[in-house]
Symmetry: C2
Subunit: 142 residues, 2 copies
């Protein structure tokens, strides 16, 4: 959805911040993919802020990113697991980390902040299209 | 790429088998997503066979699927990691399992089989589009 389509639909996303939550890895690839997806989403110009956060191993953590957004005055946050499918990470680990944020100092800075937790990527024809491209590239690169 | 576009491009994929390699999970979601992606790719009618295989926890394993395809007479196999980003699983664990296949009994059944290993999903504008849909759904489901 482009900014224009968004406006056409009568919605305003200009007060919404998005957190793209990655798995985290000792290798740089997961972080690189998340950072680039973040940059591209920011380029679409739909949301007031687009940040990354990592479940483990990389920084910023989920808690760090949520605190940053709350301190910046963001009141509506969508936290999205950038995972292919649901699993223990998306159904247990990440929700647990989202809860922790409401404890301690967050009681002050996060009082009026509404956090919505989204679903992972899942099955989509666009994923099939991408996989077909990767197959083509693999055969060409032989 | 549709079958027609594929033909237009002068390529024949009719002797190619694809293996979609999933992470595997104790929960059913990763398996469900892989099975449905497999079904949708099969529906496109491009390849002679489309199979799933799991790196861990679920069956069939990578070795089982490769053996099945080799026994079925497939000579050209593209093994694709259905992962968002590269990491230790895609750069070490899966390649290691692909190698094992060439040992022992495989020396017989896999003699003339060409296996190409592809890249993960990675950064793509279509992923940004899907994430925007998931954000929209999350906000609507509040």
């Amino acid at each position: 959805m482009t900014k224009e389509e968004n406006r056409t639909a009568g919605e305003s996303e200009e007060d919404v911040a998005v957190v793209l939550i990655g798995h985290g890895s000792k290798l740089p690839y997961n972080r690189d993919v998340l950072e680039e997806l973040r940059r591209r989403m920011e380029t679409r110009g739909i949301f007031k802020a687009v940040k990354v956060a990592f479940m483990q191993l990389n920084s910023p953590s989920i808690e760090e990113t949520l605190r940053t957004l709350a301190k910046d005055g963001m009141k509506n946050i969508v936290a999205l697991p950038v995972f292919l499918a649901d699993g223990a990470h998306t159904t247990e680990d990440i929700p647990e980390k989202l809860k922790v944020t409401f404890e301690g100092a967050w009681a002050e800075i996060g009082r009026d902040v509404n956090i919505v937790y989204g679903k992972p990527i899942g099955v989509d024809e666009r994923i099939v299209d991408i996989l077909l491209d990767r197959i083509k590239e693999a055969k060409e690169g032989e």
